[in-house]
């Protein structure tokens, strides 16, 4: 194995993996910290502090109450229900988004004119505002909307009458429908990342596989998918955390209903805030933060280990 001899470096001018001195690295990090500290770290620390108070719009003064907000949320706010609903929603979004986007990426990998056009078509929802996309979806799923009209075009001639099912009114179905719409909205980004990952697979590996007689499926299964590890890590994390923080799509589609069936944590944070319970709202947003960390870190660590093994 070729091993270049490098001159010895003192600790003062030790370079990192991309060849920058420590001082230079600090310089590059400064802009990020200049944004991160005032706009993220300090607000979150203050948010945590607020979650330990009884601050509300109803009273002129507030004081420290320890973990009472969390106890109240658990006792009266349906905390466990909303956490469970949020997890189910996030997992559903992650699965739908990644399975569909990966399939599309495999089919549309080659940059032909048709494929490039179709990529653009599937990416369009990402460019639309979330609220607009949700309004479109709500209109489509209205009992008298295009979806039911299309089904009625089949049921009417069969003598079954018009189809007027209230898609977003079914408490058992609605969370998964909203998950599908959320996945449709953001799946374009995931698809592009998978396509980029597929394009980065070394051609020589694929050529070697073909020489060895591997079929297209075998190349996908045993060469391309394993090398998609970094893209998979990124996409799963992106999907999961994006879904855990979902709000605007739900606000438009269902307003958390029917019967709270689509009330996820962020929606409850907004609800409590809109009612003037600022401390409790901050507490619930801390619950979301913890949930994000609990889900994201093990996911990233396990997927990264898998990448290393591969």
């Amino acid at each position: 194995m070729y091993s270049p001899r490098l001159p010895a470096l003192t600790s003062k001018d030790a370079r990192g993996p991309i060849g920058l001195r420590r001082g230079e690295r600090v310089l590059f990090l400064l802009p990020a910290f200049a944004l991160l500290v005032p706009f993220y770290i300090i607000p979150n620390v203050l948010n945590f502090a607020v979650s330990l108070t009884n601050w509300s719009t109803f009273a002129s003064r507030f004081h420290f109450i320890g973990l009472d907000n969390f106890a109240d949320l658990a006792a009266t706010g349906g905390l466990w229900d909303v956490i469970g609903r949020t997890i189910v929603f996030a997992v559903a979004v992650t699965l739908i988004e990644n399975v569909v986007a990966l399939g599309l990426a495999v089919v549309l990998e080659e940059p032909s004119r048709v494929n490039v056009t179709l990529r653009a078509v599937f990416f369009i929802p990402v460019l639309i505002s979330s609220l607009s996309a949700a309004y479109v979806a709500r209109g489509m799923l209205d009992p008298t909307g295009p979806v039911n009209q299309a089904i009625s075009a089949v049921t009417n001639p069969l003598g079954l009458g018009p189809f007027t099912f209230s898609w977003l009114g079914d408490t058992n179905l609605v969370l998964f429908l909203v998950a599908m719409i959320h996945a449709w909205k953001w799946g374009g980004t995931v698809m592009l990342i998978y396509i980029t990952g597929l394009a980065a697979v070394p051609r020589e590996l694929l050529d070697a596989g073909r020489v060895d007689g591997a079929t297209s499926w075998q190349l996908l299964r045993h060469v391309k998918l394993p090398l998609l590890g970094p893209a998979l890590t990124f996409n799963l994390t992106l999907s999961l955390i994006g879904a855990l923080g979902a709000f605007d799509t739900i606000l438009v589609l269902t307003h958390g209903g029917p019967a709270r069936a689509t009330e996820v944590i962020n929606f409850n944070v907004w609800r409590l805030f809109s009612q003037g319970y600022l401390g409790e709202s901050a507490g619930l947003s801390m619950v979301l933060f913890v949930l994000c960390v609990l889900f994201a870190l093990p996911l990233i660590i396990s997927l990264r280990r898998r990448e290393v093994r591969l």
Partner: protein, 448 residues
Amino acid sequence: MGTLRQGLWRRVAVFATAAIVAACSSSGSPTPSSPASAGPSAAPSVAVSAAPSPSAAPVTLTVWGSPDWNAAQKAELQAFTDTTGIKVNLELPKDQATVIAKWSAGERPDVMFYFADAAHLVALNPAQNLQDLSNEPFAAQQLPSIQAAMKFDGKTYAALWITPYVFGMLYNKAIFTELGLQPPANFNDVLAICKTIKAKKPDVAPVFAGGGDMWPLQAVVIEMNLDGERDGSWINGLNTATSKFTDPAWLQGVQDLKQLVDGGCYNKDLLTATFEQESHTLTTGKAAMIFNNTYEAGVMLTNDGASKVDSTVGFVGISQNSNAAGFQGSAGIEAPKTGDPAHEAAARQMINFYLIDGYKTFINAYNDTPVMQGVDAPAGIPQILKDANAAYLKDGVPIFSQGLRADYGDFATALNQMVAGKLTPEQVGQAMQASLEKSAKAIGLPGY
């Protein structure tokens, strides 16, 4: 090559993941600011005149209005600017929840058009955050009944610029005439009318509500409970912890709603239909009855015009055993304390202009019953509003939130849950009671 690509991927993934976690956790509450920073106590009262004051520094008032405002309401703002030279920066928060969300985040407009009943004012903590308008010239000129209704701890924190919203049943006159039906005089009549319409006009929803927007579900409960709230003792009991939302006095209306739903009286898409859809169903004959208030009548008038609405839609007050008409001081104007004496004075000037110098022009353009003494009613008030006002004058009863000194939580959402079969009427009452107790403790009401 592969290693370099993977190395880049890792950095991208780690950086992006960190950014996403940051985005995820930062949603929700804003950076806190001390409520004490809302401003000092009320600025010294100044002489109020609609005429421009040459010595006054030019100010631009930030005003929170409503997206539903019609041309008359918007014209009044322009008239104020034209008359006084004070410019207005109009913002239109979508709904009550948005107003409170902005308020909670520390935003303070100079003037806000918001509910004026006690249960909504408490969330603003008026003693701390609103200017006391008790000694402003307009206050003594409001109708005596309005003056009394606007008092909060003996002070006036809000003006009412439009007659109180009157609660009742709006109905399609043609359907009632065709089926030989009379407007109901009690809840049993409503049930009977529902059965008749279901039998004879199956394509028509006997009752329609935009339950997907939640709040339209509340009206029927509020209305059916009016008879039990006439003397005010039950509502006063809520303020003193001697009565509860789990009392039969309140559960009656909740059970009535459930009975109507279980009886198939409502539209099939009750859980997802919107208020916007609701506001078109009577004039188009898709529904026969709606329980709501004159706010919806106003939306219908804006949508379809007075002649169409008056020819198709009727109004009647309704409660469990009578034609009582609930009322609520909804269309209020408040002047938050901002800490800027010039802005606070200009805000009070604006309210006085609205209700004194500019009021006749406004109420004539708005075409509704005036709330100021000495102002004649316009000649062309739409019949539906006349009917509502007549019901109010005949047997008006303040709805529960008019005198309630605490918040009552997600009443509408609890009703939506009940409609979906997830809660019983008793559980709806328990949820409201829990919210009442929570807010009452925060406010410091005695007994809680």
